[in-house]
């Protein structure tokens, strides 16, 4: 069994809201407004709507020359730290690690720079300097003057969930008193063109698990949790909000972009997480599914949910946030925590007609939760699968 790890703070910003509280409230209201991208232009004839953050990012003291992904991560981090009651001064006396998942934040794929380079010009190296200074974990550590382990996980769409799973291990192993962990990703032309090229984006607002689902909508944002050791908690006299009770991950070893049709890796990841938490599937209040709205993902996920966790309510919060890639696991963990605390989960908006090939269907209205443990799961390119169990109680 994995020892529970305390969650003492959470922060999130995404298209649904500029902080965790407002994002969750909007979801309970069923509000979502995907629109054509405004951050960048595209020449695609059929435009897929996206879940973009239109407001200026909070935390104006943040270095504006950092990548947007990194500024998203910093914004969510500052919200989570405030929630945990941890000031920068308090952190300096502790061993604090940073473990963040991303996709765009790790990639030297500045298209403007590359266009100029390919045109035979001498692009301004400031863009590369910016990339080198924007490693999300290192930038957070630098901002807060932290000296613990730093890691950026780049497991594609399971990055955020994997980062939290790793971070929990840092606490359990005594490497850190506190870990800032989660995921962050910005919308950009590169990922928009990439997912469009794979023909898995929907021209309409996404409809996870519906028979007429046509693909995903991209999104952006960041979700961050503060994990803390029991020693640090006792020293501060602080009570946790919840606990990371279990984490599991496994590879399909099957295909570069498609999940294994039998969900082999997903099952292995879920079983490892349940075993780590020392619970049975029937103890779960609900499942925050990956639920991208692509035909393949939803088919595999529905089959695995029906087989391993029959009857447990589930839904996808991506219908409110879009698929935020490396941020998704962090955002969904924070939202899962809110669902448990408030005893309600939002409706899986966009689902109206079941698919006969999908043996499990999501909740269609705001649903009351009576149990106090939940699972958040992520599937990813490369065949990665990750599962995280969050509970309101330690045991």
């Amino acid at each position: 069994m994995q020892a529970p790890v305390a969650i003492t703070g959470a922060g999130c910003l995404c298209a649904a809201g500029m902080d965790l509280r407002s994002a969750f409230a909007a979801m309970l209201q069923g509000e979502r407004q995907p629109q054509p991208p405004q951050l960048f232009s595209t020449s695609h004839e059929e435009v897929s709507p996206v879940f973009e953050i239109y407001q200026p990012l909070p935390a104006p003291e943040t270095d504006l020359t950092l990548l947007r992904t990194t500024r998203l991560a910093i914004s969510a981090t500052l919200e989570a730290l405030a929630d945990a009651g941890l000031s920068a001064e308090l952190l300096r006396g502790l061993k604090v690690g940073v473990c963040i998942g991303t996709t765009v934040g790790s990639a030297m794929n500045n298209e403007d720079f590359y266009r100029e380079y390919q045109a035979g010009k001498d692009p301004d190296m400031a863009q590369i300097d910016r990339y080198l200074r924007s490693n999300p974990a290192t930038a957070i550590a630098r901002l807060l003057q932290l000296d613990g382990p730093c890691q950026v996980v780049v497991n594609a769409c399971s990055s955020g969930t994997d980062a939290i799973g790793l971070a929990a291990g840092w606490i359990r192993q005594g490497l850190c008193d506190v870990v800032i962990t989660g995921g962050a990703d910005e919308l950009c032309r590169t990922t928009y063109n990439g997912f469009s090229s794979l023909r898995i984006t929907s021209p309409q607002p996404c409809r996870p698990f519906d028979v007429n689902r046509r693909g995903l909508n991209l999104g952006e944002g960041s979700g961050v949790l503060i994990l803390e050791s029991s020693t640090s908690l006792q020293r501060r006299g602080k009570s946790p909000r919840a606990f990371v009770r279990g984490y599991g991950s496994a590879s399909d070893a099957y295909h570069l972009t498609a999940p294994h049709p039998d969900g082999i890796g997903l099952k292995q990841a879920i079983n490892e997480a349940l075993t780590g938490a020392g619970i049975a599937a029937q103890e779960l209040a609900f499942i925050n599914a990956h639920g991208t709205g692509t035909p393949d993902n939803d088919r595999v996920e529905s089959r695995v949910l029906a087989e391993l966790m029959p009857g447990i309510p589930f839904g996808s919060t991506k219908c409110f946030t879009g698929h935020t890639l490396g941020a998704a696991g962090g955002i969904e963990a924070a939202l899962t925590l809110c669902c448990l605390e408030q005893g309600r989960m939002p409706a899986n908006v966009g689902f109206s007609e079941p698919d006969s090939q999908l043996p499990a269907t999501p909740v269609t209205s705001v649903t009351s939760l009576t149990k106090r443990i939940a699972l958040s799961q992520s599937l990813a390119f490369g065949g990665n699968n990750a599962a995280l169990i969050i509970a309101l109680e330690e045991r």
Partner: protein
């Protein structure tokens, strides 16, 4: 940390492929950098050849896999072959890949397809191979590794980040063994940046111990290690300590392998150690400057603790400390011993 035994290594660099090739380079068979065309000028680069992969994969299969992932596949294959552990349960084998920059060439190719042909014609194949964890996917599919898989990106500290995770997984009992690889490739775009960061004039001779001058020559390659929890009376080389952070607590005794990268900016951070009475050595000139270089240093140390004559008497017996000072004020230290 609990010591990690190195059961096998898969090394691909300018020195060649395999532990024997690295030993030969240490013995004096120095690799020569290739001259690569960069906008009409010649740039020396320590390139790594993935041709040996042709004995395992068809030409057709190789055409579909980019150079970055080929480096990973070759390194992974070599590490498992050297370990000779066919009984390993692949569902209990973890895979961790660390890379400073990822598949940069394929990412550039993806941009090309959109820029030249238009957004509608961006290549799906290039996109799916440009994702940072594409190499891990190729390795897991080819070698049927279905345990946990992780790719980490921490620039020149990717190697120590990856080791930290391997140590954690083994300590938690999540896996029986970890196949850990550090992979980075040269690309024209990196070469362009390299030239700028070298002040416009790239050195033709790599002198990493000339700390006050930038003489760095870019390198590439893959360094894979099959890691397991060390047993009592284990005769395999071991990683016995890991540190990562702004302040490294370096033991006062023991020889040092310094991963000097040939940049004046980081060079000065090694000056005090080189001026001290400690036994020090640097081998970056065997593989070039890249995020893989400190992982190659671990391989050198692992070979040297098994064969004390390899680096001469000054390094014989006891532990070897591998040290890398990074660009952003973070350092990595790994203690290698028997």
């Amino acid at each position: 940390m609990k010591p990690l035994a190195i059961s096998g290594m898969g090394l691909v660099g300018a020195f060649g492929c395999g532990s024997a090739a690295l030993k030969a380079a240490l013995g004096g068979a120095l690799p020569v950098p290739q001259q690569v065309d960069l906008r009409g000028a010649q740039l020396p680069v320590y390139r790594a050849d993935t041709q040996p992969l042709g004995s395992s994969l068809s030409e057709r299969a190789l055409r579909r896999i980019d150079h970055f992932s080929q480096l990973a596949l070759l390194g992974a294959r070599e590490a498992l072959a050297e370990a000779d552990r066919p009984e390993l349960d692949r569902s209990r084998l973890g895979l961790i890949i660390g890379s400073g920059f990822g598949p940069v060439s394929t990412a550039a190719h993806f941009h090309d397809t959109a820029i030249i042909d238009g957004d509608e014609f961006a290549s799906p194949t290039a996109f799916s191979n440009s994702v940072h964890n594409a190499a891990a996917a190729h390795v897991s599919i080819w070698l049927k590794i279905s345990g946990p898989t992780m790719t980490v990106c921490q620039l020149d500290m990717s190697y120590i980040s990856a080791l930290l995770t391997a140590s954690q997984w083994l300590d938690e009992g999540r896996v029986d063994a970890v196949l850990l690889g550090i992979v980075d490739e040269y690309s024209d775009l990196l070469g362009y940046c390299w030239k700028h960061y070298s002040g416009g004039a790239v050195a033709q001779h790599f002198e990493p111990l000339q700390l006050d001058r930038t003489t760095a020559i870019a390198g590439e390659g893959a360094a894979f290690f099959l890691l397991e929890a060390a047993q009592t009376d284990d005769d395999r080389p071991q990683l016995q300590g890991l540190q990562m952070g702004g302040g490294i607590d370096l033991p006062a005794q023991g020889p040092l392998l310094l991963a000097c990268d040939g940049f004046a900016e980081t060079g000065k951070s090694y000056a005090e150690l080189l001026a001290s009475a400690r036994r020090t050595a640097c081998f970056t000139q065997l593989y070039g400057s890249s995020p893989v270089a400190p992982a190659f240093d671990l391989a050198v140390a692992a070979l040297a603790v098994k064969e004390p004559q390899l680096l001469g008497s000054a390094f014989a017996g006891g532990q070897i400390h591998c040290l890398r000072h990074g660009f952003v004020g973070v350092s990595g230290h790994v203690q290698v011993g028997l």
